[in-house]
């Protein structure tokens, strides 16, 4: 991630509770955070979260355009792409927060506020946040989200944020923690571990 991109907010908080929040943003492809990225609110005591869903809604015009085939003039399509009125909705799982100047993992005491700006975290922040792995149990226990996929994406990004060979040490430690948490479910553990280690980006 380059410096210039960092300054640009992903979007603003649409709605939130302590475990999840949804960001609305424009549909610029480059600006959209990827599944599994770590984001944070812009407040003094930011709330950290992992992107676990990205939703594009439709409206009557889009419906018409999708069935109109190639009879639609190119300007209209471009206008839709550039200036969509409907926001892309990005769902975020809250996994950490700042309290008393310290980064903590877990559900924040308060949700972010509506219209708070949301930013992507850079490599340093991602590295710092993943120094500890207490948030992994939060993910594993969540049945509302594709937890295993999210976990794999998140750990791979966190590893990629680290220089070699610390990326491997990181995966080992995180893997060890997962093995402890998933001792009763070997198949699930095996599936996750295989993917975080073999699909290393």
């Amino acid at each position: 991630m380059s410096e210039s991109m960092l300054a640009i907010p992903v979007g603003r908080v649409l709605r939130a509770n302590v475990t999840n929040y949804v960001i609305g943003c424009r549909a610029h492809k480059e600006q959209l955070p990827a599944f599994g990225s770590l984001v944070k609110t812009d407040a003094n005591d930011p709330v950290f979260g992992l992107v676990y869903d990205i939703v594009m809604s439709d409206d009557p015009l889009i419906k018409q355009l999708t069935v109109a085939g190639n009879r639609v003039p190119e300007e209209i399509i471009q206008d839709q792409l550039q200036n969509r009125r409907l926001p892309v909705e990005i769902s975020v799982l809250a996994v950490g927060y700042y309290l008393g100047g310290r980064m903590r993992q877990g559900i924040p005491p308060r949700p972010p506020l509506s219209l708070d700006f949301i930013f992507r975290c850079d490599d340093d922040e991602l590295t710092a946040f993943t120094e500890r792995s207490d948030h992994l149990s939060l993910l594993l226990g969540n049945r509302e989200i594709p937890a295993d996929e999210l976990l794999v994406a998140h750990l791979q990004q966190a590893a990629a944020a680290r220089p070699s060979p610390t990326d491997e040490y990181f995966l080992q430690d995180a893997g060890g923690e997962l093995a402890r948490l998933l001792a009763v479910d070997m198949l699930r553990l095996d599936g996750i571990l295989r993917r975080i280690t073999s699909e290393k980006k």
């Binding site: 893997g175 001792a183 095996d190 295989r194 073999s198």
Partner: protein, 559 residues
């Protein structure tokens, strides 16, 4: 001397620094009990292959440290499913994740002692859950087994700690009888020689060694046909070599201090009775021997061997002895004719001579030369001499009336093939059985060397204070050496897994806890450290000096 500040005033003493363990723990306590031992989960990084049974670990409990011995090593997991469908361990990261997390090593350790202050104490409790377990350090070992000093003698190293020395408390060693066991070729003779070196060097006892295969005195041949030094070469005048076979001794370059001959007339029926099994003597023959001794007096054997048919018939006719018994006894005893050390007439007083040396504080290696292969010669001579020397010791101890300064020097008698002397059927009557059982009452103890300890009488075995055993593979032998040892279950594993050579388990009176040692090598380094006469010229000088002191009376070899 100078005004320089003393640095010791500013820094805490090293000892207290050393207490904080610098090393990483090898694992943590998972479970266990005082009676059955503790289970330790190995840290993921720790290679289970590096942890052999018999090694030491120290558990750092909350208040005290527990000195423990590993007696089993196992594989464990957090979920048995992982063993049914193993993860892809070809991926190095996966491999490292699973080791320590889902699969791990588990070692079983027996708490042996509590390290608390200077003297180790018996274990009465166990450390709590998750207490950290460390490899034992050299300092830990020394706290348990003692440091080299005038009482402690270095015998070997703990397993996988070549630089660390295990010491035996020699005065305690000779306080009770000692057993050295192990299969043939495991290093019993070498080990025994090392123990004897300690005993002679520390002057804990004088020795009488019945040396069956020329393993102790001078220029010993190893299995590799190399030549190593004997006790006489190390200690010069402090050790005398006696021989039954002057010719063999000289052929091997030994200059024996004296030659031993026995007169037929001196042999008593009691001496013959010990040969019951070896010479296949029946009870009738033994009875006949006693009877002949009564009728014919001292010359009974000679007379029997020379007796003609008429004389034998006469004896059979006038006594209760069966007609066939005497010819049979005569033919058995006729085997003695092969023994040139048995003389029709001799003015030699071997017992007196030996006692003289012992009294002067000199140990004696009695070489059997070619007679070492004749078990009946070995048993006859060892019994003959020991019975009489023991009698003298009993007499002198009784004369001393408890006055220590009047008591004879403690004597340690070494015999090989000990089960031939201490067989359950004869152990009650043989002198060796008696010595073993009377403990140290008359200042005589035994060092028995044997490859078949199951053949030794159980009661005698229970009196063997210190047992040192190399590899044994016969289940009954293993059981025999472990009788009466607490916590024997774990030791069985240890014992059956010793190396085939130069490793031994030491347990009993001379050590605070059972210990497996890599026996120190018997080599030039040992001669230099332990010998009073490390090199040849010194040996000769000491020899000469001793002859000047004690006269040449024992020196018949040159005639």
């Amino acid at each position: 001397m100078s005004d320089e500040p003393n640095l010791d005033d500013f820094f805490p003493p090293r000892a207290s620094l050393d207490k904080t363990p610098a090393a990483e723990p090898l694992g943590i306590v998972m479970a266990g009990s005082l009676s059955k031992g503790l289970d330790v989960k190995l840290a993921g990084k720790r290679l289970i292959e590096g942890l052999a049974v018999g090694r030491y670990v120290v558990i750092h409990g909350q208040g005290q440290q527990f000195f423990c011995m590993i007696n089993d090593v196992a594989l464990d997991n957090t979920n048995p499913l992982v063993e049914k469908s193993p993860p892809d361990m070809s991926n190095p990261i996966l491999d490292r994740i699973h080791r320590g997390a889902t699969v791990f090593g588990r070692v079983h350790v027996a708490p042996m002692l509590v390290l608390d202050g200077d003297t180790p104490k018996p274990v009465k409790t166990v450390p709590s859950h998750f207490a950290e377990v460390y490899d034992a350090t050299e300092e830990d070992i020394n706290r348990v087994f003692g440091q080299a000093d005038e009482e402690h003698f270095w015998v070997g190293a703990p397993l996988d700690m070549e630089e660390t020395k295990i010491h035996l408390n020699v005065p305690r060693l000779v306080e009770r009888s000692i057993g050295v066991f192990g299969k043939s070729g495991t290093g019993k003779s070498f080990l025994t020689r090392i123990l004897l070196t300690g005993v002679i060097k520390q002057r804990a006892a004088v020795n009488l060694i019945f040396d069956m295969h020329n393993d102790y005195g001078w220029e010993i041949r190893t299995e590799q046909r190399e030549s190593v030094k004997g006790l006489k070469q190390l200690f010069g005048g402090q050790v005398a070599v006696a021989t039954l076979d002057d010719e063999s001794s000289r052929r091997r370059g030994v200059r024996p201090d004296f030659v031993i001959t026995l007169g037929y007339d001196e042999i008593e029926p009691e001496d013959i009775a010990m040969l019951r099994q070896t010479m296949d003597l029946s009870d009738r023959m033994i009875d006949a021997a006693y009877l002949l001794r009564r009728i014919w007096g001292k010359g009974w054997i000679r007379r029997l061997l020379h007796a003609d048919g008429e004389e034998i018939e006469m004896i059979s006719g006038t006594t209760s002895i069966h007609a066939s018994t005497l010819p049979a006894l005569s033919s058995r005893l006729g085997r003695f004719r092969r023994f040139d050390f048995l003389k029709e007439e001799t003015t030699d007083k071997p017992v007196e001579k030996i006692l003289e040396y012992l009294e002067a504080g000199k140990s004696i290696v009695l070489e059997f030369g070619r007679y070492g292969n004749a078990l009946e010669a070995y048993i006859l001579v060892a019994n003959y001499l020991t019975r009489r020397i023991h009698d003298q010791y009993v007499r002198r101890m009784e004369q001393a009336l408890g006055d220590r300064s009047q008591e004879p020097r403690p004597l340690l008698i070494t015999i090989e093939e000990a089960h031939k002397f201490l067989d359950p059927q004869i152990a009650r009557q043989t002198i060796f059985g008696i010595i073993a059982r009377e403990l140290r009452k008359y200042n005589v103890t035994l060092l028995v060397v044997d490859q078949r300890p199951s053949g030794i009488d159980e009661e005698v075995m229970s009196q063997i204070g210190t047992r040192i055993t190399a590899l044994l593979d016969n289940e009954r032998d293993i059981q025999a050496v472990l009788t009466g040892v607490s916590g024997a279950g774990g030791l069985r594993e240890v014992l059956a897994r010793l190396d085939t050579q130069q490793q031994a388990l030491i347990m009993g009176h001379a050590v605070p806890m059972p210990v497996v040692v890599q026996v120190r090598p018997w080599d030039a380094k040992l001669y230099a450290i332990e010998g009073t006469a490390g090199d040849e010229s010194l040996t000769l000088m000491a020899d000469r000096a001793s002859r000047t002191l004690y006269g040449d009376e024992g020196f018949e070899g040159f005639n």
